[in-house]
Structure formats: C-alpha cells, structure tokens
Symmetry: C2
C-alpha cells in the first residue's frame, strides 16, 4: 500500500486545469468570474450516506452530484472542486481506482476542475468531503429567503426516486430507482439559466419535498401551500398517504423554487425551450409553515417532514 503512488496513478490525471498545477502546489487557484462566486461543501460517510455495498465509482459521482445540485439550484455553473478522502485501513488500490473513475466521469461531464484536496487515513469508515465552487448567472445569489406572497412554487424532474431507490437497495433489489439513489439524476445544467431568470427563492430537494419547502417558507417568512396531487411523483400514488411517503423521503436532488405568478407563461415557455421538466406544485401565501392538500382535500402535516442526514 502506497497511497502516494495511487494519487500519482489515479487522482493526479484528473487534475488537468492550470489552477490545479497537477495537485503539486499547496493550494489550488480558483477560476475568477465576472459574477458572484459561490461555494458548497458536502460530506458523505460510509454507512450513513451510502451503503458499504454501493460501488465506489457511484459513491464518487454521488459526492459530486450532491454538491452540483446545490450550485445549480442557486443559478450557478459548477467550476472548481477540492476533495478530501479519508480512507479506512482496508481500502485497496482497486477501491481508490474505482473512486477516481467515478470522479473522472462527472468532472468531465460537468466541466469541473479538481484543483486540490487532502488524502488521509482513518481508523473509521470511508469519509469523503467535496468543496465545489460555482459562478452565479445572477448579480446577487438567489436565497432561500426571497419567496413573496402570491408567488408560484415549482419543482424540476420527479420526486421520490431517492427514497424508493434506498428501499430497493436495502432489499437487495436493483431498479431504475436504485440507479438514482446511487447516482442522483440532476436537472439539466440549463436549470441555472431558468433560476437566474425567474426564481425568487430556491433550494435543492435533499431532505424531502415538504421539509425543503418548509426551509423556504421559514426563511422567507411566508407559508407554502403544496398540492400533492400535482407533484410529479416517481411512481403513481393513490392517496395522500402514498404521496406523503414520497414527499418526505429526500435524496431527490431536484430544484424547488418560487417565482412571480405573472411570469408563469414565460417561465413555462423558457423551461420547454431549455428542455427542463418543471411542474407547478403550489403557491406562496401569508402565515408560516407548509400546508398540504391532495385532490382538493386538506392533508395534515406529518410529524416527520423529511430525512435529515
């Protein structure tokens, strides 16, 4: 075992940008932007955020994507990454190579420059942290706190795949949903343009649709009324109970946002042009918290509105 050889062999080839200096300097150089530069940091721990049976290449992609999701939902374009790998004693060269293969795929696909990081040993489980910067397409960063009474609530893609995928994976079943659980399907990169043009507030759906709606409501000082029968769930739901299961499951990594009601037609037309699936799922009102309905009937808020990692 010589992790320095592993870094030379697998990790250094991924760090191709000038700012990375082949990971041979003490620091990486961030690419400058004419717009605000944002940064996010997420950590994944084996046995907590991924299963020890998950392929390590998919774990690496998940690590990148949970961070990309944060940048996209703020109307940002992903740019530079720093990576921390804390490797357990049982970690093999083949494990390291698999991890780097997953990294390579998504760094290339999203045009992200790996510019630095740290590789250490741990007596504990594999622990991965990624810092990702992004260049905002707006002059000021979209916050969770910008929703205004009368706004409309939208979500991209479908909701519930993360939760369904985790259930399937725990049962040892492979499905389209387990693919998403391991390598989250993100909204298209063009979502950043849509957010920059229209969003008054935004968040990525990581804790669960209801919980994350609550974050926007709480930070904006408004209430959010969600019509669960309009939510594009990953499988057909027959009643409010089924809807609640999927709306509280988390790990969706879609973008939830609010926009002015009068922009609805222009927004939907732009989304169609950009090839982004979005759904109108609710409205912003006075008061606080999240209020739910299903086919016109009020639905009580469940005790657990989301999954907290």
């Amino acid at each position: 075992m010589n992790e320095f050889e592993w870094i030379d062999r697998y990790l250094r080839p991924l760090a191709k940008s000038p700012g990375a200096d082949r990971l041979k300097n003490d620091v990486g150089v961030l690419r400058s932007a004419g717009s605000p530069l944002i940064a996010t940091l997420d950590t994944l721990v084996e046995g907590v955020h991924f299963l020890n049976t998950d392929p390590l290449s998919s774990v690496a992609q998940k690590l990148l994507r949970v961070n990309i999701s944060d940048v996209l939902c703020k109307g940002g374009v992903p740019r530079d990454a720093l990576l921390s790998i804390a490797m357990p004693t049982s970690f093999t060269e083949s494990d390291f190579a698999s991890l780097c293969e997953g990294l390579r795929t998504d760094l290339d696909d999203w045009n992200i420059a790996l510019i630095g990081g740290d590789t250490v040993r741990t007596p504990g489980p594999l622990t991965l942290s990624l810092t990702l910067t992004g260049a905002c397409l707006t002059e000021s960063v979209v916050q969770r706190s910008g929703a205004i009474v009368g706004d409309t609530v939208y979500v991209t893609g479908v909701i519930g795949r993360g939760g369904l995928g985790l259930s399937d994976a725990l049962r040892g079943e492979e499905s389209d949903h387990t693919d998403h659980y391991r390598i989250p399907e993100l909204p298209p990169a063009a979502i950043a343009d849509l957010i920059a043009a229209f969003a008054t507030a935004s968040i990525d759906v990581s804790d669960g649709l209801i919980s994350d709606s609550g974050h926007i409501a709480g930070e904006s000082g408004v209430s959010i009324q969600l019509d669960l029968s309009k939510v594009p769930f990953a499988e057909q739901v027959h009643d409010a109970e089924g809807a609640l299961t999927l709306a509280t499951a988390g790990d969706d990594y879609q973008t939830l946002f609010t926009a002015a009601a009068e922009d609805e037609h222009r927004l939907l037309a732009t989304a169609a042009t950009l090839g982004i699936r979005i759904s109108f799922i609710g409205t912003v009102g006075q008061g606080d918290g999240v209020k739910l309905s299903f086919n016109g009937e009020d639905v009580s808020l469940p005790a657990l509105t989301g999954y907290r990692h």
Copy 2:
C-alpha cells in the same frame, strides 16, 4: 442530542459575514478579489492527526491553522472558510461548544469568514475538513516549482516544535512545545507580503524541513543544499543526529522559501521591518534532491525525511 440546536447555538453565531447568510443558504458566497483567489483543504482525523486527549478547542484552532499555513506560504491573505464536521456518536453538546470556541478565536484573529459547510454523523472518529480561500498578493501564485539555481533558501520561525510537542504530549508532559503541537504557532500574517515580494518558490513545513525542501527541489528540477547548523531549531542540537531528528519531524507550519541571492539584504531588511524571524539555511544548486551538511561536514540523507500524515 439535537445537532440542529447545537448549530443554532454555537456555529451560526460564528458565521457573521454577508456571504454566509447565517449558514441559511445552500451555498456560501466567496468574497471577490482583484487578485488570484486560492483555496486549500485539509482534513484532521482523531487518533491520526490529533490525540483524543487534545482539547477540542485546540483541535479547531489546529484545523484552521494548518490551512492558514498553506495560504500564508503562497503569499495569500486568508478569507473564507467552509467546514465539515463528522461527529462520532459519543460527541456531546459540550464537545461541540468547545470546538466552536476554538473556531471563533481563530476566525476572529485572522478575519476569516465562515460561509458554509456540512455537519454529519459518523460511526467512526471525529473527522474535520476545512476549505480555506485566500487572496494572493501577487498576480500569479507562487509555486513549489519556481526555485532557480543560485537562489537562497530561507525558513521562518523555529523548526522541530511540532515533533518535540508530540513526543511530550504522548508522554503526558505539558510544555511550550505541546502548546505548539496542539495550536501551531504560525509566522506573522505579514509573511504573505514577504513571499509576494521575494519568493521564487515556497511551501509550508508540514511533513518536515528536509522532506518539504525535497518537494521544492523535485518540483523545481534543482538540488537544495541545507546547512543544518544554520537551521533555527527549537532546542539546542549538538550533532547531526540531533539536527536530523528535528528536521524530519514535521508539524512546524513555518514557511520555507527560496529567493534570488541578490535580494538577500533587501529581503532581510524587509523581514526585520515586518517583524518576521527568518533564517538563511541553504542554497539552490544544479542536480536534484536534498543535500545536507552540519558544521561543514556532509551528512547522509536519512531514510525517512519527514512525517507523512
């Protein structure tokens, strides 16, 4: 145990900058700079990079300082931080408060804005990762690769305190050196000005003086001749063996750099004005690797030139 309350109570008050948005957004906003923006990421694992008997406030300061050291040695001014805390199941509110107290001290002292991060659970040991950005005082970032034949080699402060402190700490003894082992004493912030004005190559001494000299030599394609009898060691050394022990111990977090020989007088005068202790410890020559002498006698390179974390 409710880590969300802990975050509200202890961590959020530290995130005072506008770009942090009280840690209530999905991303932090990096402060723009008219100069290159650099970033570094270091991870500390309990039982590997610190002892489980070390006070958590000092562990937090060490985490910040190992990163600050990287920024300073490149001629940069520390700016924004993102923090990942992976907490073991045994972690208490008092532990969290102690960690945040150490963070507060050094964030304030170094005027660093905590703008984001992640707090997760781990079945393993406490694992802390910090990403720190810095604004360079130069137009292009000082690399490890810029040393030129004929340059002079300098180091700030004293060498060997990290190693002596670890030995003392492992024996259960408290000393001036254990203070440095737990909360590394860094060169003054003004070292960034000196580096920006004079350095052709630089690195921070974290692996050990000889090992880190080797990194500059290797990246620059030169040899470095160190006169160990000129190195400002933390305790008096009587022979080459004693010098080698301290020159290979690591965890010094001083700045090692090269500069043009003709700048010597101006450099020493500037250092004196800025109140920075620096020592002339060697020269850059043709060839490769590190060559050692002690009181005019050649000294063989030890098999282990530094401590690798």
